[in-house]
């Protein structure tokens, strides 16, 4: 009977601690929201341009297509 009570108590304590640890577990950092933004691009001649980046509604992954090789 004593062993049974000890087992019940230990199991209850184990699950209680497990639940607390799982509940307080830091979640992996969320991905930044895909919102439109603006970047300042400086051109060759020195002038700056504000470029608005559209929110990503299309493919979120990087393209695998290679850039065309420059002619000449």
């Amino acid at each position: 009977m004593r062993n049974l009570w000890a087992t019940i108590f230990a199991t209850w304590a184990l699950f209680a601690v497990l639940a607390v640890l799982a509940w307080t577990r830091p979640l992996p950092a969320a991905q930044p929201a895909n919102v439109p933004g603006a970047v300042v691009v400086q051109s060759k001649n020195g002038s700056s341009h504000l470029v608005v980046v559209q929110s990503g509604t299309g493919a979120a992954h990087a393209t695998t297509r290679t850039s065309p090789t420059p002619a000449g």
Binding site: R2, N3, T7, A10, A13, L14
Partner: protein, 211 residues
């Protein structure tokens, strides 16, 4: 696939941590109860029942130690393996504090098993083996504070204080208080004290005044 791996609950890791904490709590409780029994602070009447609980807590704590080790051995990130959790110094991560935990587990197993061979090894040897429980507690606390990810900084100090206070207090009580056998011997050796050392003034007057 990557997303699934990062968001999945690390069951073995959580199980290892919770089993380690519960094991430490149970083994500290068993040690505290054992010390209270040896000092007879809880009285003689319930000694047998408390001794039973002392043993049961020891075995339950050891079961949690086994669960702690098994979960770590099977953890896909830690890569301990069964050799790493059974043999001191073989762990791939922080081998010294991990070895302290392994040594504590083996000492606790020897202590729990010693109850079953008590008659065979004799009371004196059994008592000597039992002194190892103090070392096991210290080494286990070192393990918990150095590799226990839940017992860092202030939380670790608070935990160490809470678990150590009753143990230290009972050890001091055990050293300072006379042993139960010595207490009996002292009572037998001391001649019975006179019934009253000081006479009540009225009694004194009675003896002085002749009848």
């Amino acid at each position: 696939m990557i997303a699934a791996a990062t968001t999945a609950v690390p069951v073995t890791w959580l199980l290892a941590r919770s089993a380690g904490l519960v094991a430490f709590a149970l083994l500290t409780l068993a040690l505290t109860l054992g010390l209270a029994l040896s000092t007879r602070l809880l009285g003689n009447k319930r000694g047998k029942m408390l001794l039973g609980w002392h043993q049961t807590l020891m075995w339950t704590g050891l079961a949690m130690v086994v669960l702690h080790g098994t979960a770590l051995a099977l953890d896909p990130i830690m890569h301990f393996g069964f050799v790493g959790v059974l043999v001191p110094g073989m762990a791939p991560w922080r081998p010294l504090p991990v070895a302290a935990g392994i040594v504590t587990g083996w000492i606790m197993l020897a202590l729990a098993a010693s109850f079953h061979v008590r008659r065979r090894i004799g009371q004196r040897r059994w008592r000597l083996i039992h002194y190892a429980s103090f070392a096991a507690f210290a080494v286990g606390l070192y393990h918990a504070l150095n590799v226990g990810t839940d017992l860092v900084a202030t939380r670790g100090l608070v935990f160490a204080g809470i678990v150590s206070a009753p143990v230290v207090w009972l050890v001091v009580a055990r050293i300072l208080l006379p042993r139960p056998g010595a207490r009996k011997a002292l009572a037998v050796a001391t001649p019975p004290a006179p019934a009253t050392t000081e006479q009540h003034p009225s009694e004194e007057r009675k003896t002085l005044v002749p009848a």
